[in-house]
């Protein structure tokens, strides 16, 4: 009769494959990041704890399965029936209890780690408002009056934080959902329009840690990356100072009469525009981003205390020309108000 074959070779093959499966599994715990903050180390430990418990369940079930397959395979010529057991109630109830026991063991571990990861430090030393937008990050250092940003598709945001100091981060979004994710911190949190999210962490390990947006946010989600550098407090102060000065240090030759600036792929073609004081000058803003809005505005400084000029927002592909106001000689700051510091630069008015 058909259907009674299937010799011992099959179970042996099953065993080989399953054993092959167990090997990478055993290596897996070593792959997780250790964590660069005390809280993230706890998450790492949680990973290992679950690994041990779940690994035990996995190994137990797989061994039970493999044993059954080998021990209870039908041998050639054996046409008899196995005993027709339907299961006794206490054993079946036991099935429920096994799972319940494992869950009760597991759950408290997670809870403890959760409480410490979610705890917000009341005395943060650095206070960053991290803004996500399509497709870049901008960090506003609230205490230092510093704004740093990446340039979409060109250069990721690089921001520094001091080691061993509690950092508070407020995540906001200007358009769609994004997600701040640093793998080495074993942590991510969404930036959601209309719902600022706050968390604190204290990095205890110096280093340069890549991160990126983890929440799918459209076309260039894959390029919404950033770099977090954990540096010594002295280096941190130096960095803040240098960043603040850098913005206005750029120079470029003056174009009397007309300046032109082009937006493409959510960035400007230049970070410096230069004109001559006292001469009537026009500005031509070219928007090469199909369907995306941009505009152009001039402020006193990156802190934007005072606004001197702004054009209307318009979607690409298009260009608009406007008359610039007369400004006293000096260094000014310009940006696109839709995309903020990610599209910014210095605006120089040279003495006549």
């Amino acid at each position: 009769m058909r259907g009674l074959r299937g010799g011992p070779s099959s179970p042996r093959r099953v065993a080989v494959i399953a054993a092959a499966l167990l090997v990478p599994l055993a290596l897996a715990p070593g792959c997780a990041y250790q964590g660069i903050a005390p809280t993230s180390q706890k998450v790492h430990d949680l990973y290992v704890t679950i690994f041990v418990l779940a690994g035990a369940v996995f190994t137990g079930v797989i061994l039970w399965l493999l044993f059954s397959l080998v021990a209870f395979r039908r041998r050639k010529g054996d046409e008899g029936q196995p005993p027709q057991r339907e299961g006794r109630a206490p054993i079946v109830v036991g099935f429920f209890l096994i799972g319940l026991a494992i869950v009760s063991l597991l759950f408290p571990f997670g809870e403890r780690v959760l409480a410490s990861v979610d705890a917000v430090n009341p005395n943060p030393q650095v206070n960053i408002r991290m803004e996500g937008f399509q497709w870049e990050w901008t960090a506003y250092y609230q205490g230092e009056g510093l704004v740093v940003t990446g340039k979409t598709l060109k250069q990721p945001l690089v921001f520094d934080v001091p080691v061993d100091e509690p950092i508070k981060m407020t995540l906001v979004s200007r358009d769609v959902m994004h997600e701040f994710f640093v793998p080495a911190l074993l942590f991510m949190r969404n930036a959601i329009p209309g719902h600022p999210n706050v968390f604190t962490f204290t990095p205890t390990q110096l280093g340069t840690f890549p991160g990126q947006c983890a929440q799918f946010c459209g076309l260039w989600h894959s390029r919404m990356s950033f770099v977090m550098r954990v540096v010594s407090p002295i280096d941190y102060q130096a960095w803040v100072k240098a960043e603040k000065e850098a913005v206005l240090k750029v120079t470029c030759p003056a174009h009397p009469g007309n300046v032109t600036i082009t937006a493409k792929n959510i960035s400007w073609n230049t970070n410096c525009l230069s004109i001559v004081a006292g001469q009537p000058t026009t500005i031509t803003v070219v928007n090469d981003d199909a369907g995306i809005n941009h505009n152009f505005a001039i402020f006193d400084s990156p802190d934007r205390h005072q606004k001197f000029f702004q054009t209307g927002q318009f979607a690409g592909v298009a260009s608009h020309t406007d008359q610039l106001p007369t400004l006293p000689p000096g260094h000014y700051y310009f940006q696109c108000q839709v995309h903020g510091p990610a599209m910014s630069g210095v605006f120089i008015v040279n003495p006549a």
């Binding site: 259907g3 997780a32 998450v43 027709q84 759950f107």
Partner: protein, 550 residues
Amino acid sequence: MAVTEVREEAMAPSPRGGRILEWLTTTDHKKIGIMYLVNSFIFFAVGGILALLMRTQLAQPDNTFLSAHAYNEVFTIHGTIMIFLVIFPFLAGFGNYIVPLQIGALDMAFPRVNALSFWLLPVGGLTILSGFFVPGGAAAAGWTAYVPLSTQGGTGQDLWILGLMVVGTASILGAINFIVTILRMRAPGLTMMRLPAFTWATLSTSLLVVLATPVVTAALVMLLSDRRFGTTFFDPAHGGSVGYYLNTFWFFGHPEVYMLILGAWGIVSEIIPVFAGKPLYGYKGLVLAFLLVTALSFTVWAHHMFTTGLITNLSFFSATTEMISVPTGVLFFVWLGTLWKGKIRFEVPMLFALGFIAMFLIGGIDGVWMASPAMDYAIHDTFWVVAHIHYVLFGGTIFGVFAGIYFWFPKMSGIYLGDRLGKWHFWLMLIGFNLTFFPMHILGIRGMPRRIALYGPTRGWTFLNQLSTLGSYLIAISIIVFLVNLFLSVRKRRRAGDDPWQANTLEWATTSPPPAYNFDRLPPVRSNRPVYDARMKATAAADGATGGGS
């Protein structure tokens, strides 16, 4: 063993044109069931080919095989097609074919509604796919279509919404039909606690569909209205909230994933006892577990939103999510208990069922990490999640579906699917599958986010991605082996009897394939294994007649 004899008129071939028309207009649950399966397989090939495109793109860092936009369209449509037009309809197809037979009914309760539920599927599916041909392309906001991103896209996103509404309506109609059929059309003697496992699974799935699917329809209505009619449900600038969408979507979304697995649990719970030669060990526990999973699945949705900061009672959702492992675990113990001291035959359906147990176990255990919110903060939206969903959906349901195909194909056609190629298919798929999806766990904990078209060469993700791509080609080869096997088996026509596997449930009491009216007469139903009982009685009678045997 069959109590049904094939009547001449049922076997008479009709002219070809008439046959096609007959299929297109049929209300016979068996023909509809087969159409479901064929339709699902076609969409599986489409979704699978899209997956191969993704895997090819990810094989190299900063690859230019697909543009970023194309990649986004491809994974969105891949996920949508696989979930709504492959897995669910595969299980509904088996439900259509098998459930009326298992309960000894003539047909579904509402045969014409049944045909409608089927035909709406390709309509919805093609609506979604047609997005590729409109300006701006297909939907590209992920299968979860999170706002505000999904309010941005073009016509393709609208087509996606409309297509899903059609598919959702179809599944609600189908589910109502299943519930009524199962509750009202059972054969005499077939009490609820004698229902076959697969029928119980279909019943549970249908309850989930009836109660959860309308909720996503509501979310889609609001999304469409926000996009096109100026409402602001999800716009925080005008009193709405992103959270309204997320909560509504996942209130459906989690029960949805159990709609995608219950049927496969049912299939496996049919196959294991047959090839172990024993009844299910703890049938009542199994039924209770199905019902508990069904009920609990409405209480866990926010585990998809742990990192959003929108959920205040993470612990509650963490606890409910971990609790779901308990009834799910019971299923494993029932299967293992059934194998215990059995006489196991390693036929192809059994291989797939055993593969299911091992692979779904990994997928389920993956879920335990994510169920712990602090842990999820590290792996949410990474390839860990991608690994999890494929271990449960592919390692789970697709293995279950192939187990079902090999198991019931003889019933549907009267012929066996080949043994040798079947085994090749299984082993290639098992190896290819693990090669594709196991490395994704490590990519996940090494921080590779999901849904990225590009990654840099310096992140250390390249090698694992290449392994994974290699594996995906191996899966494709295994599917081609299956198709070849199908082709050769149909040519060779190795006849299967009415009850080729010595099975237990009523579908094996009629001819293979069953006549249009299913049964002439039913064997008496005194347990949840009526065909087994009948076989034992016949053996005893034969032994009695020859005066021997034990």
